[in-house]
């Protein structure tokens, strides 16, 4: 993906070990983290290929991602409700840097997608795919592309990315 046309000298693992002063250290950084009631259920449902939200009886919103309290009303939320795996692009960025901050020519698309079935603007940050810089748009209707069931682990990455809705869908 990277090419010689960018200025500067790219350092690889070899250079880091041989030419640049480096220290090797393996910390014993073990930890456990509880995702909490709402997020745990959200992640478990992702593994099943479903998106779930919580309802607030006071403001009548359907909150996504789900949470056990409503931050508008300061009240506990009430019920679980499934939402759809289709939605709308609310905002996006086209990144020509990859996750290691290396320059790439085939960009990554990230942004916020609000999901159908939840209250307006309720969304998550995710990747977009099957788009190009000329076609991706705010307001574009999209659908989740899921990992196959055996590959899902209970993570937001169980959705690979969101692709444009095809004719006749949603």
């Amino acid at each position: 993906m990277t090419t010689e046309k960018w200025p500067g000298v790219e350092l690889g693992a070899k250079e880091f070990y041989e030419k640049v002063t480096s220290v090797r250290f393996r910390p014993e950084a073990k930890f456990a983290w509880s995702a909490g009631e709402a997020m745990s259920r959200f992640l478990a449902e992702l593994k099943e290929g479903r998106l779930i939200a919580r309802t607030c009886t006071t403001c009548k919103r359907i909150l996504f991602p789900p949470r056990m309290f409503c931050e508008e009303c300061f009240r506990p939320t009430k019920e679980w409700v499934y939402v759809k795996d289709t939605g709308t692009i609310e905002t996006y960025s086209i990144s020509y840097l990859d996750l290691d901050a290396k320059r790439i020519t085939d960009p990554i698309y990230v942004g916020v997608v609000s999901v159908d079935g939840a209250s307006p603007k309720m969304g998550i940050m995710h990747f977009f795919g099957e788009v190009n810089p000329g076609t991706i748009k705010i307001g574009m209707r999209v659908k989740a592309v899921w990992e196959p069931p055996e590959k899902r682990v209970g993570s937001v990455r169980d959705i690979r990315y969101w692709r444009p809705l095809r004719e006749g869908e949603g």
Binding site: L63, F64, P65, R67, E71, E72, E90, T91, V112, K121, M122, G123, I124, M125
Partner: protein, 159 residues
Amino acid sequence: MKSPPVWFSGVGWAIDTTFWTDRDLYFPEYLARAAKMAYKQARIDDPRKQIDFAEPYDPFDYKELHHMEGLQLCKKGEAPVLTREGVTQRDGDLPTCPSGGLLGVGNPIAATMGIKVGELYWQLSGQAGKRQIPHEIHTGVTNAWGDLMQFSAVAVMRA
């Protein structure tokens, strides 16, 4: 006292939800509310006319524009136009970031509003040297921004 005193005439703050993917990212409502609180205390009802210059928090290019609009110094979508037309230059009608902005002075996270308040003080007391706004100024505003793109504090200062 050698230089005339500069007073804090209004402060305000507001925080929005941490669920940033659930809200409007275009207009910083939390900043508008923080500004409203500060303006009320400073007895400012028309910031566009009553504020002479501003030091909005500008850790990224777009944030200066974003915060100008949140501070009610211009209408939604108007900040880029004012910037392009030179209104925000030191000798413009609304000098914005006469300090040169954070690209010039650095961005110590959580402490940056200190330098911004400092710039309001230096400008209002006529001690900004080469950065001094060339025309008469009486009131300046600055803001901080942080947490998960959800919090702002605002200070209005007067000479």
